[in-house]
Symmetry: D2
């Protein structure tokens, strides 16, 4: 029923692109000097939301110090409740630009309104499309017309095929710089011991089917700060090409964060994750060895 095939995501299909067919190699998406899908997993880190200039600059600097490659932060936040903090908007973008100037880290930020795409595009180095918008086809189509890399989060209950079809909406517009991001699916533990179920099996499955790089968001994928470093390194073991991690200020209180405070880790924890990556890569070895 409603089965989709390779033909529905023809542009992003590994099997249909000679350059990638028969390998596990991803496209390298370049963001400034950072290579997503390159020699080592990239680390994207930063606050959930841009809440203020001071908070953002402090966290940005700490993330850079801890070894992050890219800075994330939301200027517009898609919130379940209309009464929750919705983000600072354009002011948030300006703060992110300042953080970039200060740290040298390129910016990943979410666009959730097709009418805001032009302004976000001016500021962002990578356009994030969130889970709730994975099937917002006008937004995907417009993102395909830009020439900015697009970080496409998996929908909360999206199949792999639906996710690849969403990427296809972007790529067939001429923008091949799409980064897939697993961020947890809705399943039975949610609410009991996690916020989402991190579905790491999808990482090698996606890599098998598409040449797009695949990263993992352990912050949403657990919803619990104490699980994040383990989940992050597990994602690396699974072959993820990068991590997206939410960070609090070193001495900030989770309950003071205006968005998702429970899942933010400290910069000192981020640093340990960054430092742990090479050993995990060593353990899983070269593709040829670990793939059975």
């Amino acid at each position: 029923m409603s089965v989709h095939r390779d033909l529905d995501w023809r542009s992003v299909s590994r099997a249909r692109r000679d350059e990638y067919a028969g390998t596990h190699r991803p496209r390298v998406v370049r963001v400034g000097t950072v290579e997503v899908g390159g020699a080592r997993p990239v680390v994207i880190a930063g606050p959930c939301a841009v809440e203020s200039r001071a908070q953002t600059l402090e966290i940005a600097r700490a993330c850079a110090d801890a070894g992050a490659d890219l800075l994330r932060g939301g200027a517009w936040k898609p919130r379940t409740s209309p009464y929750a903090f919705q983000g600072l908007g354009v002011e948030g973008l300006e703060i992110l630009a300042e953080a970039r100037a200060t740290t040298g880290l390129p910016i990943v930020t979410e666009v959730l309104d097709v009418r805001m795409l032009a302004v976000v595009e001016q500021f962002a180095d990578v356009l994030q499309i969130g889970s709730r918008n994975m099937q917002n086809y006008p937004l995907l189509t417009e993102a395909g017309r830009t020439r900015k890399p697009v970080l496409l989060k998996r929908g909360m209950c999206a199949t792999l095929q639906e996710w690849l079809c969403a990427a296809e909406y972007v790529v067939r517009g001429g923008n091949e710089d799409v980064i897939l991001c697993e961020r947890g699916i809705r399943a039975l533990g949610n609410g009991e011991y996690d916020r989402n179920t991190l579905d790491l099996n999808v990482v090698p499955a996606a890599i098998e089917r598409t040449w797009l790089p695949v990263i993992v968001d352990p912050s949403h994928g657990t919803g619990v700060a104490s699980m994040v470093p383990r989940a992050a390194l597990a994602a690396v073991a699974y072959g993820a090409h990068g991590l997206l991690i939410e960070v609090l200020a070193e001495d900030g209180k989770p309950e003071d964060a205006r968005c998702d405070g429970d899942q933010g880790v400290r910069p000192s924890t981020l640093r340990k994750v960054v430092e742990g990556i090479p050993a995990v890569l060593g353990a899983v070895g070269a593709e040829s060895e670990v793939r059975a």
Copy 2:
């Protein structure tokens, strides 16, 4: 973890509105002379997509004859695959307007791009917001600024609270004419014997929590035409204030439909559903009797 309360959907909360608190009465949403939430369940019927003038007019007339109250049809279709039929766009709206003129039935049609809202609003009597857009907050917010009734489908894996929060985005904009529509959730039978799992338990649960009327879409809620009439009458047994049913031409072939042919019923079947409603209403009896 991310628990939402009544306060997050304060405007649509039954308990917070004196007029409805302590009852099971819904708001009556008026569409022309049709009352959604009124004395009897309404029937919204029509093709999945407007495919042509001839197809739409034929089905529209057949739906009117069969006893439908409102006509549905998609001019823009949110399709998983970018290569699937995407709808006729404005031409589709014009065809729907002609079908309305011919049959006298008000039109329900989907808006999926915030930039198209103004034009859809000109033609439609009810604005449908689909499952994939249930958390498209800019679209919800703009729909709240119109004065057209909004039919808000439940997201594929949305909790009741997320659904009520989505309605809140519309209502707090000043538009209280929101109709909730259950259309099946993603669960374990999908792909084996149905397309979605029709979650009828949510109907009385929603009615208990909100004064918005709640209707059911048995077409998407099963994905199987032969199940639709039973599912439709079951929804009435559960207390639904209306039905949204996809209809094929009496002698059309499911495989010829450009969208969701497997779930469309014939006008003759639609008529039997319409005729069966009063008996089911009689069986469930007055609220005071059936509610334990």
Copy 3:
């Protein structure tokens, strides 16, 4: 991955049994003078657990008066917590036998330990195998050696194929009197507004694939007493061959029940369900009409 076919449930396959192929007719399972799969849906009602002689006899009489066809009650209860009430055991069976003698209603009761099968078989008219034991293959196999009808509940996350395979374990032992019972699956609303998600789509899907009769348990399928009557009549609309309903004493307090008090309905409510069935059957009409 682990796909099962018709061949795996060959004995219960409708297509493979000439007598039933091409029809929607179920086997008629006879329990005394009651016919499950016969001219009209049967109603199985009674307390969740046999808690005492007085409680059981009172409820049994009230169920008989309300129009139930069979009496249910648990002498052994499979409880998530080892510290919850586990049932009265053999004493419970004796009480059920007395209730049968008093009311004339045959008894449906659960067997959950293969070592207890012989004793349960002596007392019971129908052996119930619960959800947690749907894949307890030794128990299924032994039940296939008895000549008592078996009521086989669907597992909490069992696919239709797994359920049919479970029935096959019984039937290939020579016992063709198996009654399938849908009782709700684990899905997203659970804990928010229901206990299980009643999956009515599985009813026509099962009827299409097997000649075994299919009944529905709206008590577990909702977990909420106020939803039970609506769910029960909806199940009839969907074509169920019977209902399994938990009943409290007319003036009993839900919180006094030692098991699942929240989902028990009153005998007066049961009566309204029984009275509502014919009208719903009338509404859905003959098979030939309602099946699209």
Copy 4:
């Protein structure tokens, strides 16, 4: 609805046992000289099913060579289809005993019928209780009366609380040597790209709530051999106290295996997993560092 608390799994609750409260330390379950919950994660490996003496001895020796600590193999297999290979029974146990004598590895084998417990107990070093029997309370209760360690797999859709309650059934019988084993849950990717969704978030969540050691089965948790080594090392990153891995003969064909051939890895792959564990442990560091 049906909420369980600490009191329902009081014996296995970390908070209620002074010895473990406030730490992340597990009980050390001793199997011969092997310590589950000890200084390093244990590796349990072997064939899905004991199919023949030759197959079992070959794989057992290869697992021992590859560095496994314990040998697994099923003498009775709970199979969805009654027509699938059900295991060699007592003959299988005798073959396992020979494999133990040959390799020195203690044996883990499943018991699925309470009537077979005594005989399995004679042969096995660890009694495995499978997912389908996680709520087979008579079996759990009897396992609590033995003095053999029990490996308790999580049910396919069991909550953490239900799993802990199942362990409680064993422990309150006086047998504290219970090992919890996550083996994947039913969720949305199943059938599309995996067999089960490996839920690694449950590992740290379980460790937080109970003092029982927690291991992971990446074979069932993926159902895809090529994912197993990555999943295994990811489980170590998440803090698992051991791994349960299904192994094929080095030159065996997956399609020749009588059970679950698609998920078995080669001994050479197993060796790489064993060799990769220390580096992953190094990367996640001491508890105090990685826990945020």
